[in-house]
């Protein structure tokens, strides 16, 4: 069980609480008995101090919490004359004294004071007491932290308080933490074997590594009674099975998430490369332009419509589509049109274009990363059970990627433009003969692919650094996805992206991130040797041309 040093957040907690106390009229009357308890902290010897801390905890008064926090942080001193307990804080470089309970300013620390020392054992006691004291706090996050603290340093006398708190608890997540703490308390500090056995059984329902450590410690402890040992081992086995399952699900989710990112980056390429046969090395730069569009739109919202800031993404998506699409049409009309049938030259020219676009963005926006903020509905995580949480931005990206590919499939299948597009792809001259303006279809198709790349940039700006090199990181992966899935086949792209993503995430814990990537690259290279036309190859004579 690791003991953490007081973090900044923990120190902030008491200050906020203290402020609340200062403005609350109740404290004036309530602190009478507490005052004497607090003074007892100045006692000599750790045993006496422990007793004082326990008495404070037993009072169940939340006002005692900041005092204990201060004690834990080493800020509690006593004035040598009269042994009055004070809290000492630095203020403008000089030390100042405060009343530990009311927080009133007692002026600069001129008189001789002595720090109230604590040892590790006392520190543990204080932590447990603090946890118990803050269990009834009005803020759910404080209550949750308190329940966690009790779980980490369980003490038998917190049990009644914890049960009282659980009975009142309305927040499910906090109640979950409290039940875990109660189970841990029963297991470690229960008075008879039955209570402890019940605790061991109950703990098996909380799949998280800390619980596993606790159960393992009980199971391996020589002093544990045999029945409890068996129960702990049984719980441990069940827990390990659940944890394995959870990590499997977590891996799967991360794989799908990576796959959806790859999918977003590759869909546009599946159109320009897969359907039109154009190698567009500047595809990654379309993604990058989309990400920068998101940045610009967000800045504009912040300046002109700060109230609507959370909805800037809704504007950024069509804006990025337009930016990418217009750039795409310009590229097709300006460069690629002249190079049809010369794929190697297309590759070189678009590579040159990607260099120019990167440098252009670097000149305009600077070489450093730009900060694109997550809107509130995309930050945080969806917690399924303990130890299993999916972050919202990843979930939204998966949803977005699926929506894009569905919309695109519908467009290809059911609209006039999709029909024209397929006609030109399958037989350009025949399409021209029946009156389709193939030049325009080319330009629009390329614009569509680039526009989708722009939208991918919106999504990637939420999880990746927005820098001029953003697109470079995705271009090789995207090509691999398209080639792996089968050129000219959107479903192939979907399957290719998801399988590459999942394979990558399952290899990662075993081989490390870099080696996993190399293995995937080699595997795809070998795969292309075997099936040069990808997973879902188009069949028929048209493919051979």
């Amino acid at each position: 069980m690791s003991r953490r040093r007081p973090t900044a957040r923990r120190c902030l907690g008491p200050i906020v609480l203290l402020l609340a106390l200062c403005f609350s009229p109740l404290t004036v009357h309530a602190d009478e008995p507490l005052e004497t308890l607090v003074q007892a902290l100045a006692a000599k010897g750790f045993k006496a101090k422990t007793k004082a801390v326990e008495a404070l905890a037993a009072s169940g008064d939340a006002a005692a919490a900041p005092v204990l926090e201060a004690l834990l942080a080493g800020k509690l001193h006593y004035v040598k004359k009269g042994r009055r307990v004070v809290r000492i804080e630095k203020r403008d470089g000089a030390k100042a004294m405060f009343d530990p309970l009311a927080g009133t300013d007692l002026g600069p620390a001129k008189r001789k004071t002595k720090k109230i020392t604590i040892n590790n054992k006392l520190r543990r006691t204080i932590r447990g007491a603090l946890g118990a004291l803050t269990l009834l706090s009005p803020s759910p996050t404080v209550r949750r932290d308190a329940a966690r603290a009790v779980f980490r340093s369980p003490r038998a006398d917190s049990l009644p308080l914890l049960e009282k708190a659980l009975a009142k608890e309305l927040d499910d997540a906090v109640a979950h933490e409290m039940r875990r703490a109660i189970a841990a308390l029963r297991l470690t500090a229960g008075e008879d074997l039955d209570v402890r056995l019940a605790g061991a059984h109950a703990l098996a329902d909380f799949p998280d590594p800390q619980v596993r450590d606790l159960l393992a410690r009980i199971a391996n402890d020589a002093a544990t009674p045999a029945a409890l040992k068996a129960a702990s081992e049984e719980g441990l086995a069940a827990l390990n099975r659940r944890l394995e399952l959870l990590s499997l699900i977590q891996n799967l989710f991360q794989g799908i998430s990576l796959g959806s990112v790859l999918l977003l980056a590759a869909i546009g390429l599946a159109i320009t490369f897969g359907v039109m046969g154009v190698i567009n090395m500047a595809h990654g730069e379309m993604v990058m332009l989309g990400a920068y569009t998101t940045f610009v739109v967000q800045q504009l919202f912040r300046e002109h419509l700060p109230a609507w800031d959370a909805y800037s993404l809704a504007v950024a998506i069509p804006a990025a589509f337009l930016v990418g699409g217009l750039f795409g049409i310009a590229i097709e009309r300006g460069i690629i049109r002249w190079l049809y049938g010369r794929p190697l030259e297309t590759l070189l020219a678009t590579w040159g274009l990607s260099l120019i676009l990167q440098q252009l963005v670097r000149t305009l926006f600077g070489p450093t990363n730009r900060e694109v903020a997550n809107p509130e509905w995309m930050s945080g995580a969806l917690e399924i059970t303990g130890g299993l949480a999916f972050t919202w931005n990843r979930i939204w990206i998966i949803v977005f990627a699926l929506a894009v590919i569905l919309a695109l499939t519908a467009l290809m299948r059911w609209t006039r433009f999709g029909l024209d597009m397929r006609a030109v792809t399958q037989n350009r001259r025949m399409a021209g003969a029946v009156g389709i303006r193939s030049g325009m279809v080319d330009a629009l198709t390329f614009g569509l692919g680039s526009g989708i790349a722009g939208m991918a940039g919106v999504a990637l700006s939420q999880i990746d650094n927005v820098s001029p090199n953003l697109g470079q990181g995705y271009i090789i992966d995207s090509f691999l996805v398209v080639v792996f899935g089968g050129v000219g086949n959107l479903w192939g792209t979907l399957v290719g992206a998801l399988s590459l993503g999942i394979a990558n995430k399952f290899l990662e814990p075993w081989a490390g991130a870099v080696l996993a990537k190399i293995l995937i690259l080699v595997a795809v290279i070998l795969f292309i040797q075997k099936r040069p036309r990808g997973l879902f190859a188009l069949k028929g004579r048209a493919v051979e041309n």
């Binding site: 070189l348 274009l353 260099l355 440098q359 870099v514 080699v522 292309i528």
Partner: protein, 374 residues
């Protein structure tokens, strides 16, 4: 074999080989014609690039294999040379360990990995400079050409290969110095690498290697084999149906080209004094292709010229206008593919009023217009 262009190129190269070291060593530093030592090294570096460009031209210009991974062969040759030079440091490293290079001491390794053994012997290192890139090219080509991976697919595979190698060489536990690569070289064959004499010697060696690479490529492309390669480039399926084992010829020329690239890398490393994984970056490999495209593919000497011209421009721009360089390079990619399909060589030939006679060299026809095999 010895056309007028070849003779002119060899004369120019020969003059440069003799005159530059002469101007560096024989003339006093303050005289007008003196060439400072750093310029000698810079020119030596360009000569290595020129050899690299010729190796790419050999496969791309004459056999239609657009390799976007030749930087990997170059870097592998460089790494072999770098390992030899590292072994040559001996106990003069920062940590003073008699056999282990500094970065291994730093990583707390106890003994040399097996693949570092024997590299202190120059003949073995010189052999491996050819063998390692050649073996990689042979393996990759064996799989790729046999399963008829051609055109753009092959380009993407070669690019993925160099990308994978870059990621691998960035890893510390590969034993190649990780991120930092290898540097701090002291001497080669017992001569101080910093001395003027050695720098001139490396320059001359690079020039000779370039001449060798040019003549070898020229010999291959003007032979009957060369005509077959052009046939593969222009109509692979047709050549196969005529009864030739297309993949064997492609494999041969691809491997030879990789070995030339490895040689270029091995000469490059002692002159610049460092080798690190960024040489494997896909962007560098693509840049090599543009040297060839700008110089004029399918001419060999044009490729060398392109390497010189672009790298001189790069040296100039990155010094004078660093922000403008990528605009220039990107512009070159677009302009040369759209408006200059024959490159500088084609321009020069047009200026000289002497288009190549079709009977003399069938290899000079640009091949990509046919959609047949791409």
């Amino acid at each position: 074999m010895f056309s007028r262009e070849t003779v002119l190129f060899l004369i120019a190269l020969g003059l440069a080989t003799v005159l530059v070291p002469l101007a560096n060593l024989a003339l006093a530093p303050e005289s007008v014609g003196h060439v400072p030592t750093y310029v000698v090294s810079l020119l030596g570096k360009y000569l290595c690039y020129a050899l690299l460009a010729i190796s790419v031209d050999l496969v791309w210009g004459f056999c239609g294999i657009l390799s976007l991974g030749h930087g990997a062969f170059f870097a592998l040759g460089g790494y072999v040379m770098g390992m030899h030079l590292m072994r040559g440091i001996g106990d003069r490293g920062v940590y003073g360990h008699p056999t282990l290079p500094d970065f291994m001491v730093f990583l707390d390794w106890k003994e040399l990995p097996w693949y570092w053994h024997g590299l202190d012997m120059f003949p073995l290192a010189a052999l491996l400079v050819f063998l390692v890139p050649g073996a990689l090219a042979f393996t990759l080509g064996w799989f790729a050409f046999r399963s008829r991976v051609t055109g753009v697919y092959l380009s993407i595979i070669t690019q993925a290969m160099t990308f994978a190698l870059m990621l691998a060489f960035f890893r510390n536990d590969m034993g190649f110095g990780g991120n930092n690569g290898m540097t701090d070289f002291k001497e080669l064959l017992g001569f101080d690498l910093q001395s003027d004499g050695m720098r001139n010697a490396l320059y001359v060696a690079s020039a000779l290697a370039l001449g060798f690479g040019y003549l070898l490529s020229r010999a291959i492309t003007t032979s009957k084999l060369g005509r077959l390669l052009a046939g593969i480039r222009d109509a692979e399926a047709r050549t196969r149906f005529l009864g030739y084992r297309v993949e064997h010829y492609k494999l041969f020329v691809f491997t030879v080209s990789a070995m030339l690239a490895g040689l270029a890398g091995a000469l490059y490393v002692p002159q610049v004094g460092i080798i690190n994984p960024s040489e494997f970056a896909p962007a560098i490999s693509i840049e090599i292709v543009i040297w060839v495209a700008v110089g004029g593919r399918g001419t060999l000497w044009g490729a060398a010229l392109g390497a010189f011209a672009i790298n001189y421009a790069k040296t100039y721009f990155t010094g004078a206008l660093p922000d403008a360089w990528l605009f220039v390079l990107g512009g070159l990619f677009i302009v040369s593919t759209l408006f200059l399909p024959k490159g500088i060589a084609g321009l020069l030939r047009a200026v000289a009023g002497r288009w190549p006679k079709p009977s003399a060299r069938p290899a000079l026809k640009p091949a990509t217009a046919e959609a047949g095999d791409d």
